[in-house]
């Protein structure tokens, strides 16, 4: 229940997201890793806001992170669906060209 414990939880979450991003080969799974990383960052903002600055700017930053994550998920999944329409797979090794 101190700043350090929250930072360590956030760090572990970030590292797990990084491992997911690097090790998975499914594009949707890579997006799951990105969501974990964004959540770790937002958790850091709120923890600093509670224990260091004592104002609510960190909360506002977290809200904007959530908004940007929603936009990113929508566009990313649209790209994934389009990619699947073209390639009939969502394996990342197949994504080698920009134009169809």
């Amino acid at each position: 229940m101190s700043l350090t414990s929250y930072l360590l939880i956030s760090l572990v979450l970030f590292v797990i997201g990084l491992v997911v991003m690097i090790s998975r080969k499914n594009i949707v799974a890579i997006l799951l890793g990105i969501e974990l990383i964004l959540n770790a960052a937002a958790l850091n903002f709120v923890a600093y806001s509670r224990f260091v600055t004592n104002n609510l700017d960190g909360h506002v930053f977290s809200l904007f992170i959530i908004v940007v994550a929603a936009a990113e998920a929508a566009v990313g999944l649209a790209i994934v669906i389009r990619f699947f329409q073209i390639k009939e797979t969502i394996h990342i090794d197949e994504a080698t060209q920009l134009r169809n």
Partner: protein, 177 residues
């Protein structure tokens, strides 16, 4: 007491479900475990006194983004659903092989150790200050901040959401060949 219990529960739920996201075989199960992890993070926000952020986390992430992910998984399922038989100790045959897991784990380990060192020095730099306890409710103050200090980012985020909506619809539309 209640807050400590909530903290322990949320932290273990967050970390455990995140590890399960990394190692489950089925991408569908990964999405469901991500749901648990995000709910755990909402609990952590609640222990920090951030009620509005916790509720927004549940509404946007749990109610929106994970459902979107599940739709994408189901729309792109097919042969990759439990894909490509690259088996790693029976652990994670889908979407990754022993090389990618090895590289991912080593990068993660280096990053973890580096940042544990950094975080320990950070906590010496910021001594424990105990502020007067929870905010009564953060909603009013966040509303004031959004329309006073952060109004430019607020408006820009609405433009961003509109752009993302239109962009997603254009990118994913079916095309005549």
């Amino acid at each position: 007491m209640f807050v400590q219990l909530l903290f322990l529960l949320s932290a273990s739920l967050t970390i455990g479900c995140a590890i399960a996201v990394a190692v489950t075989k089925n991408i569908m199960h990964s999405c469901i475990f991500l749901l648990g992890s995000l709910i755990g993070i909402a609990g952590l926000y609640a222990t920090l006194g951030a009620d509005f952020v916790a509720v927004t986390q549940i509404m946007v992430y749990v109610g929106g983004i994970v459902i979107l992910m599940l739709f994408a998984v189901m729309l792109t399922g097919g042969k990759d659903f439990v894909s490509r038989a690259q088996n790693l100790l029976g652990l994670a045959p889908s979407m990754g092989n022993k090389w990618t897991y090895g590289v991912g784990l080593s990068v993660g380990l280096v990053f973890l150790l580096t940042n544990v060192k950094l975080i320990l020095s950070i906590s010496e730099y910021f001594p424990e200050k105990k502020f007067g306890n929870e905010f009564p409710s953060t909603v009013t103050q966040i509303g004031h901040l959004l329309v006073k200090d952060h109004v430019l980012a607020f408006e820009l985020s609405s433009v961003l959401l509109l752009g993302a909506l239109v962009g997603a619809a254009i990118i994913a539309r079916p095309r005549k060949q």
